[in-house]
């Protein structure tokens, strides 16, 4: 991978609005994140909105110690993914930057940061809230469109080929229980999930 081995302390290369590609393989260096921050970018209400959402209640307790980043398994191998930075951007109200940031999608949800935060901030849950909000705005990596539509059509996240199902019988495994796509559609409609998926497909 010939990615720019720049100084890891450099400002993370985020805000890749158009860069939300699945299987990008590497983090593309973008310029927008390093662009100077303009005063009108700050949304003072953003941190309050996030703290009102389930899992974001402790956001404002963050004192930027950086435990989340130093203990993050992904940050070790990424030049740009820094959970502390995502939290800081959220607290500052850099809403558009954080929601369009490509690194938002690099959290593996291992919950090490959540378990180790000395201020009890549910870091991984805050990142989940940011992702959910980004999706509402139409940013969704391809992989989630695939997983989501498979769940709606089959009940499970991966489409299991017929060959696999036949093989189950051959090796003496009981048949796989049938899914209930009708129930999936109803629940997706009730929660608003189907709307989000459609928006993602159009984007």
């Amino acid at each position: 991978m010939s990615k720019t081995q720049s100084n890891p302390r450099e400002r993370p290369s985020e805000t890749a609005k158009k860069g939300l590609r699945a299987k990008s393989g590497e983090e593309t260096a973008e310029i927008s994140a390093t662009a100077p921050i303009r005063a009108q970018e700050f949304d003072p209400h953003f941190k309050h909105e996030v703290s009102k959402t389930h899992g974001g209640e402790k956001l404002k307790q963050c004192f930027q110690c950086g435990t989340c980043t130093s203990d993050c398994p992904i940050a070790r191998f990424s030049d740009s993914y820094r959970p502390r930075t995502l939290i800081r951007m959220t607290l500052l109200g850099l809403k558009d930057r954080v929601l369009t940031s490509e690194t938002l999608w690099l959290c593996a949800a291992c919950f090490t940061c959540t378990d180790r935060c000395p201020q009890d901030v549910e870091v991984a849950s805050v990142i989940r809230i940011l992702r959910n909000t980004a999706v509402e705005k139409g940013y969704m990596p391809q992989i989630f469109k695939e997983l989501g539509s498979s769940i709606l059509e089959t009940g499970v996240a991966y489409r299991i080929p017929d060959l696999r199902l036949k093989k189950r019988a051959q090796i003496g495994l009981p048949p796989l229980p049938k899914g209930n796509p009708e129930a999936m559609t109803k629940l997706a409609k009730a929660t608003g999930f189907s709307k989000l998926l459609k928006r993602g497909e159009q984007a």
């Binding site: 291992c110 990596p141 992989i143 229980p177």
Partner: protein, 309 residues
């Protein structure tokens, strides 16, 4: 272990559970299912197929948290209808089901919200059952003593390392199983087979699998790092209890070797395969052939037939 043993005498432990297979296991990791069924049957655990189950919800948590909670809750409702607790083989499924079960039991407001969504399908979450990962079932419901007693051929010649997978214990508050900073369950279970347990640096670190769909380089680097540490620690093999971790360590191992120019050749067994070998099941019965990294050396070593090559 005195307190749980006392409890065991007063209330008999359940032995019948609903099997929650999830998405990844029937899709790609049947060997985990095959070996788990064999081993649990031997230990007197009866598994009931779970009708019309759906994805636990975790894969789409980044898209819409409400849908994740609702999908998990639907599974819990189906189990409530059967009056049986759930055993999941995938830590992602187990963690999500446990977390949602706990949150809905504790948070009335959230329960009402999710029940509002479930109403469309005629279901209602009541909070009458439990959900567990198979690892938790083995240490809590079956018990180490019974597992040790089931071992016919102690694997004393084998050095085994492990990677349990994050969601078996994290986030600690909601999964509510064992201390994620010093987990014991899988260590105890490896030792119960008679094998020597091998510690290594960064044992608790994530394998990176969850972001493989967005970035394939970082997960491979993470897994390579861990495999290298396991090799350097002198393990003959390692075990996992997660289909995604298994794909990273086993399925991707040849790719990692090529990409990073490393020689690893570390067989990665599903824990039930290791226990099954100790119980006396044949490698065929445990689907050892389905592993990408050849495990015949392990089988030879157990039977004392390994040669110097």
């Amino acid at each position: 272990m005195t307190a749980p043993e006392k409890n065991a005498k007063t209330t008999p432990k359940p032995t019948r559970f609903l099997l929650f297979l999830g998405c990844a296991i029937p899709y790609r990791v049947s060997s985990y299912e095959i070996s788990t069924r064999k081993v649990l049957q031997q230990l007197g655990i009866e598994l009931v197929e779970m009708p019309e189950y759906n994805c636990c919800g975790l894969p789409i948590d980044p898209v819409n948290h409400s849908m994740t909670l609702t999908l998990a809750a639907r599974n819990l409702c189906l189990a409530e209808q059967q009056g049986l607790s759930i055993i999941a083989l995938c830590p992602g499924c187990a963690g999500t089901l446990r977390k949602v079960n706990k949150k809905l039991k504790e948070n009335k407001e959230l329960k009402e919200e999710i029940n509002g969504y479930l109403k469309a399908t005629g279901l209602e979450f009541k909070g009458t059952i439990e959900a567990k990962h198979v690892l938790q079932l083995l240490v809590e419901d079956v018990g180490l003593e019974k597992i040790k007693a089931s071992v016919k051929t102690p694997l004393t010649r084998l050095k085994v390392s492990e990677h349990a997978g994050c969601h078996v214990t994290r986030p600690a508050d909601s999964v509510d199983f064992e201390n994620p900073e010093d987990p014991q369950a899988l260590k105890d279970l490896v030792e119960a087979t008679g094998a020597e347990y091998v510690e290594y640096v960064d044992k608790l670190a994530c394998c990176g699998a969850p972001i493989a769909g967005v970035n394939d380089r970082i997960p491979l680097q993470l897994t390579k790092e861990k495999l290298t540490h396991i090799r350097n620690a002198g393990a003959h093999a390692m075990v996992t209890v997660c289909p995604f971790c298994h794909m990273m360590f086993d399925t991707n191992q040849p790719r990692i070797e090529r990409l990073f120019n490393e020689t690893l050749r570390i067989p990665v067994l599903h824990y039930p395969q290791l226990l099954g070998l100790a119980m006396g099941f044949s490698p065929e019965e445990l689907a050892l052939k389905a592993l990408r990294v050849d495990a015949t050396q392990i089988v030879s070593r157990i039977s004392g037939k390994e040669d110097a090559s």
